[in-house]
């Protein structure tokens, strides 16, 4: 990845000015202040822009967009939306920034990475988190056989969750033989990259550092396992060809490896960090400023879609699978999509287990844009060197406020409550919500994450940059 300077000087100056203003507004919110409490009037004005085009990547977690379209939730808001599949994450981000798309289904790291200037630089914001969980890590059959020798067994089945500790001897064996241990992930700021790194590091395998200040964006400094970018649909084929020994990707590409008999998913991201935030709905800051009512109305439609997806204990999921299987959305075969969407996951062939929360769209406040979620991604960017300089705790919080817009979400939710389309109990208590989840401890390595103390969090890791360290 190289830094792209693709905007004219004028545009840059304009952007910096807007960024400055927004930062000032963001700063005026103090930690713990109730959000959008001044908004007693919940009636949202007419949309400023009615014809919208949203981009997405063909993955099951784009479902809220497809459902909001198919169920008429966008039209209920007076919005005429076109959904358009994009070739890859880079194209999607660039088109959102240059205005060809009004908004898009994004990796949670993308708005953050773009705003702090890792990769393409532009101010992108999000007011809606699209889902929790949904990824897995798969290794090839050969690696699995070698790992299996170290994994404890109960009732003839390997004990889950499987830690990277069992992969470590295999990596060492390869390294001793002088062979690089290659693995794949989908994008430098992808959740998959951070999840795979987290899992590896928790098992004592160093996944390597980035050093953008030195122009090194390969992320392989000091690496024991070499991670590189491979587009999701190409993952199984790349592994089959022997270029990579394993990968971290969303569905259906883990189950595909099982169906084809070329690999074994060893762990889901749910087991690496229970209920981790996955994708977000991103728009450019300029767009959000220009069309505030439209923005709220889009979020309203998306909240309704997410509610529909999780309603009555996932009762609508089979219908959702049928919609997603259409070639203009995800387009994969129904039985492949249904596997993860309806709450089961097949590990080693025949070892099918229940993972009811494999894809969560609404429960556990999945759609609320928590600052603490943004800060977790920023800590991982710092941990792996994508943020090369040390940053203060306040910087993390300010950046999260610059990108995550719970105030927009709150207005949308309140409007839905006022219209009787949702209940107040479906949402966090907006009057007291700080945007910071209570400390979370359900990580595979048992480390506790407190979003309000990012630097202290980084100190807990054995592998990774922290404190004043600069590469």
């Amino acid at each position: 990845m190289t830094k792209f300077k693709n905007v004219s000087m004028l545009k840059q100056i304009k952007k910096k000015m807007t960024a400055g203003i927004t930062a000032a507004i963001a700063l005026s919110f103090t930690l713990g202040a109730p959000l959008a409490s001044a908004q007693s009037d919940v009636k949202v004005g007419w949309p400023e822009k009615e014809e919208l085009k949203f981009g997405f990547i063909k993955l099951t977690d784009m479902a809220p967009l497809a459902i909001a379209y198919e169920k008429g939730f966008f039209e209920d808001e007076g919005l005429y939306v076109t959904l358009e599949a994009q070739a890859n994450w880079k194209v999607l981000l660039d088109r959102t920034i240059d205005g060809q798309l009004d908004g898009a289904h994004m990796l949670a790291g993308q708005p953050l990475g773009a705003t702090i200037g890792f990769g393409t630089e532009a101010h992108v914001v999000t007011a809606f988190s699209m889902d929790l969980n949904g990824n897995g890590i798969t290794v090839s059959n050969e690696i699995w056989e070698k790992m299996k020798a170290h994994i404890p067994v109960e009732d003839g089945k390997p004990v889950h969750p499987i830690k990277a500790d069992y992969l470590k001897p295999v990596v060492e064996e390869y390294r001793d033989a002088g062979k690089p241990f290659n693995m794949g992930m989908v994008f430098p700021v992808s959740t998959h990259n951070y999840e795979l790194r987290y899992w590896l590091a928790a098992g004592g395998i160093h996944p390597g550092y980035y050093a953008p200040h030195k122009g090194d964006n390969a992320g392989q400094i000091d690496a024991e396992a070499l991670l590189s970018v491979t587009p999701p649909p190409q993952m199984p084929a790349t592994m089959e060809a022997g270029t990579i020994y394993g990968y971290c990707v969303g569905e259906p590409w883990n189950q595909q490896a099982v169906f084809k008999g070329i690999g074994v998913p060893v762990i889901t991201d749910y087991e690496i960090w229970k209920n981790n935030p996955e994708k977000v709905f991103g728009v450019s800051q300029a767009w959000a400023e220009k069309y505030p009512n439209t923005h709220i109305r889009v979020v309203k439609a998306l909240i309704r879609a997410a509610m529909w997806l999780d309603e009555n204990d996932n009762a609508n999921r089979p219908e959702a699978v049928k919609i997603l299987a259409k070639s203009n959305y995800v387009g994969a075969d129904e039985d492949v999509l249904a596997n993860s969407m309806t709450g089961t996951f097949e590990y080693e062939k025949g070892d099918k287990r229940e993972v009811p929360d494999f894809n969560v769209f609404f429960r556990y406040n999945a759609t609320y844009p928590f600052y603490s979620d943004a800060i977790w991604y920023l800590t991982q960017m710092r941990r792996w060197g994508q943020i090369s300089e040390p940053k203060s705790d306040d910087w993390y919080k300010e950046t999260a406020r610059k990108v995550y817009k719970p105030e927009v979400y709150a207005m949308a939710a309140k409007a839905l409550i006022a219209e009787g389309k949702a209940k107040a109990t479906d949402f966090p208590a907006f009057a007291t919500e700080t945007g910071f989840k209570p400390p979370q401890s359900e990580f595979i390595d048992g480390v506790t994450y407190d979003g309000s103390k990012p630097n202290a969090y980084l100190e807990q890791f054995g592998i990774g940059l922290k404190g004043e360290t600069v590469l």
């Binding site: 379209y69 599949a85 994969a332």
Partner: protein
Amino acid sequence: MSKMANILSFSPAKSPMSGTMGAVYSRAPALLLPLIGLLMFLAIWNGVAKSIDTSLGQFPGPAQVWEQAGSLITEHSAQREKADAFYTRQEERNAARVAQDPTYEPKTREFTGSPTFFDQIWTSLYTVMVGFLIASVIAVPVGILCGLSKSAYAAINPLIQLFKPVSPLAWLPLVTMVVSALYVSDDPMFSKSFVTSALTVSLCCLWPTLINTAVGVSAIDKDLINVSKVLRLTPMSHLTKIILPSSIPMIFTGLRLSLGIGWMVLIAAEMLAQNPGLGKFVWDEFQNGSSESLARIMVAVLTIGAIGFILDRIMLSVQRAVSWDKTSVLR
């Protein structure tokens, strides 16, 4: 009708006909051989497809492709029905909004559903024609200038040689960024993706027309030039009466090459930039990774081929119509 048959036949049909049977006999090789070729291709395809196992299942044979072509047609008509329902709903919503907010000026929006295979074909055709027209409008005059003046040719030739081999994939990022920077409008007449695709096509298909025009113009028979001199034709008449008519065959050879290149380039550009059209259809299907994807891509491949062939035949018939020498063999 016979003209149409001429356009579509694979070899020039100039055999003398004597009676109906004679016509059948003399035509037989022209009709039969292509048919045999096609059947052989289908048989080999069918045989080979069975032995290729991809990660998306078996490689599709002619039968699966035929089936998917049918399903694409069904999807197209289903989408049309959805569009009708959309317009009805829109009218109702507009009426409801006017009732609430009398200042609102209702407007009818285009159907927002995904484009079908046939919509994509139309988009691609339209884009390639615009790109090709832009290229021709530039290439023919510049080519004539290069043909007429040795110094102009010497000046422009290095540029032609430099840019001719550049792939569309190299132009695309540049064109995309430049269009994004310059084409700024709140209510654009054309979408950015359309402008990008069309300009990329133009940049790549400029060169064959330019070179062929230049060569055609510079190779005009000396006798004709002398005639022009003797008759003291004005420069304009010299151009329209002497130069254009005699260089038309070469210009059209260039145009045909250009259109062929343009069509190839467009599909690649659409795949890479996700601009609407057949290229996007192919890429979307590739990303779908369903068991039907490969057969649907194959439908697109055959369609792209057929359209490219028809475009070439249309250019050929235009060339026949405007060429002064009706006896020359064109193929």
